[in-house]
């Protein structure tokens, strides 16, 4: 397995830090190595926010995102910040309601925030996105993500967030998208 450098980007309050932590802890359950970083301070309370996860079967030497090979974009601001330069991104998953993508890269658009809202859990959008990402890219088994969700959330929050995650899983399956197993 090559090293995945996953950048989850959007705005403060969307649960990106938590989603990053869940993804990282889930991958530890599969015997992978993981590191997680996130924006801190004022950013975390509104405005642009991001969370970086590095996954690898080998020891992770540099723990931050240098060049993401998988990018989640939930807001237009996040899109402007992460895709306006000559970035050589490989895979992009974006919120099709909120981001006007113009890139010719390998992109997957879904109305992520709308779906989370329909499930009555707007804050679950990052966890819903995790469902999409893990299925689409075969990063970690869904049962390990569910286990990690349980480990990182208070019991009362478990049900609404699990339903967000499962929604993300279903969408990819229903659309018949085949998993991509390695970062290029």
């Amino acid at each position: 397995m090559k090293e995945w450098q996953i950048l989850l980007s959007g705005s403060g309050g969307q649960g990106l830090g938590l989603a990053g932590r869940i993804l990282a802890t889930a991958s530890l359950h599969e015997g992978l190595n993981a590191t997680q970083s996130q924006s801190y301070g004022a950013r975390a309370r509104g405005g642009y926010s991001e969370s970086g996860v590095v996954l690898s079967s080998r020891k992770i030497i540099f723990p931050l995102i240098e060049q993401p090979n998988l990018l989640l974009v939930l807001t237009d601001k996040a899109y402007q910040k992460n895709l306006n330069s000559q970035t050589n991104l490989v895979h992009v998953v974006f919120d099709s309601d909120n981001v006007a993508m113009s890139s010719g890269q390998k992109i997957y658009g879904f109305p992520l925030a709308r779906w989370a809202g329909e499930l009555g859990n707007e804050k679950g959008v990052a966890i819903l996105s995790l469902g999409v990402i893990t299925t689409l890219f075969g990063l970690v088994k869904s049962e390990n993500i569910e286990k990690a969700i349980a480990e990182n959330l208070a019991p009362t929050l478990l049900k609404p967030n699990l339903s967000c995650f499962r929604k993300g899983l279903e969408v990819v399956k229903c659309q018949g998208l085949t998993p991509i197993n390695d970062p290029a």
Partner: protein, 466 residues
């Protein structure tokens, strides 16, 4: 992960030293037999051991390497050469933030007292201590400011508790007066400084590595100080424990300099059930005529705690061996000299820098904290591009490990010091005699990325590959 590591060392028979490493974990049992030092083993030890280390130390490093690379077992035993036996039971592997690991390290080392004034990016240390210490019978106090925080820590330590505080640059400035007091009055304590960007109040929460000189010379007067620099979340745990041990060993404050990136990074940390702890030595002998500041052979005095039957006078003034203040020039000169010598003459006991790379690299990169992680990545990637880069990662930054630096850099054509400041460690490298050293510096809250180091080296090294 549950596994037990047993290391056997024998000083009486060097051939047997570290002859067996037994690792027991639920699924399997490993027995790593270290073969006698034949040419092949020496060669493989040399590739992973810092240059110039004795074969014995290389063997220890080799054993650690074996442990790290054994499938499913990633624990590392720290084997002190003075120990005959050491048993480490690994019970837990946790995914932690650097700050959390630092707080847990302090508590594992036996700290039961924390006084502080929360400040980002160090806040989580205070937060965690406020949750964990009271149930253990310990004390957490949120003080009115950082001056008071360190004053409370000094008081707690004088009364016999292992105590620490955590802050960031602005608070670290406020603590300088009491750091000097703690050095002068020989009070063991740990000060964690999670460095943020800039001088003044800088940019809150954003990273920097620019408090290196503040740690060394922040307090006035001639003195020595110990400062450690973790480069991973695991090292936040390990080096905080080490800091407490060194504080007790040297009876001196010890600074842990973390950067905001490592402090907020989450990585897997292996937490042993038992850690190697140095406990405070208490005086014995007659109470009458007791001289608390009369040093032992290693220049460190054995002080009583407040409340013991011995009388302890504590002052920031120059004092004689009874603790009475003195204006005698000989007393002043000897005291300041001893406070420096008790650390500087024993600096070989402090954590050594770690060298990673080829035996005779064209380029040596010296770094610490998050910048060292970039350097290690750059060296690995550069190696695939034909560059010969070795990395010397510092663990102790004060006293500066001059000997290891000069030894490692001796034959390298290019020496680069990578740090997120204007060249604070670069000055020390030059002062150590490596005057050709150059700096790759950044002071704009952005981490120095591996790619930047590779480009920097390629531009400046005639020996650089394609």
């Amino acid at each position: 992960m549950l596994c037990t590591v047993v290391c056997q060392m024998s000083r009486s028979d060097p051939k047997l030293a570290l002859s067996q490493e037994v690792i027991v974990c639920p699924a399997r049992v490993f027995l790593l037999e270290l073969i006698p030092l034949d040419a092949k083993n020496v060669a493989s030890a040399a590739t992973i051991a810092p240059k110039g280390l004795s074969p014995e130390t290389s063997r220890v490093t080799l054993a650690r390497w074996h442990l790290k690379n054994a499938n499913n077992v990633t624990c590392v035993s720290i084997v002190a050469p003075t120990l005959h036996w050491r048993c480490v039971t690994m019970t837990r592997s946790r995914f932690l933030q650097g700050n959390e690991a630092c707080a847990l390290g302090g508590i594992a080392a036996g700290a039961l007292f924390f006084a502080g004034y929360p400040i980002s990016p160090a806040t989580e240390i205070a937060e965690l201590c406020s949750n964990l210490l009271p149930p253990k019978g310990g004390i957490y106090i949120q003080m009115e400011d950082e001056l008071a925080s360190l004053a409370a820590v000094v008081g707690a330590s004088l009364s016999g508790m292992k105590a620490f505080t955590a802050t960031s640059g602005p608070g670290f400035s406020l603590m300088q007066e009491n750091i000097g007091f703690a050095i002068m009055s020989e009070v063991p304590c740990v000060i964690v400084n999670v460095q943020r960007f800039g001088l003044g109040t800088g940019i809150a929460t954003q990273p920097g590595q620019s408090d290196v000189m503040a740690a060394r010379w922040g307090t006035h007067g001639d003195h020595s100080i110990i400062a450690l620099v973790p480069a991973s979340v695991q090292e936040c745990f390990d080096l905080t424990i080490e800091a407490f041990n060194l504080a007790e060993r040297f009876r001196s404050p010890v600074v842990v300099l973390i950067d905001a990136i490592i402090a907020h990074l989450r990585e897997t940390v292996r937490i042993p059930e038992q850690v190697n702890k140095i406990e405070r030595i208490r005086p014995s002998g007659p109470i009458e005529g007791f001289q608390p500041y009369a040093p032992e052979e290693n220049l460190v005095p054995v002080l009583p705690n407040y409340g013991d039957e011995y009388i302890l006078r504590v002052t920031g003034l120059v004092h004689d061996q009874y603790g009475y203040s003195s204006a005698n020039p000989d007393v002043g000169g000897q005291l300041v000299g001893r406070l420096i010598d008790k650390i500087e003459l024993y600096s070989h006991e402090l954590p050594e820098p770690e060298y990673t790379g080829p035996e005779d690299p064209d380029v040596v990169v010296i770094s610490y904290g998050i910048s060292a992680r970039s350097a290690l990545s750059a060296a690995q990637r550069g190696g695939r591009q034909g560059l010969s880069i070795g990395v010397l990662k510092l663990k102790t930054i004060w006293p500066f490990p001059e000997q290891a630096v000069t030894r490692t850099c001796a034959r390298a054509s290019l020496v680069v010091v990578v740090e997120m400041n204007k060249g604070q460690v670069l000055r020390e490298v030059k002062a150590a005699g490596i005057t050709r050293a150059i700096g790759l510096n950044r002071t704009d809250i952005r981490v120095i990325m591996p790619g930047e180091i590779i480009s920097f080296v390629k531009e400046r090294c005639s020996c650089a590959g394609s």
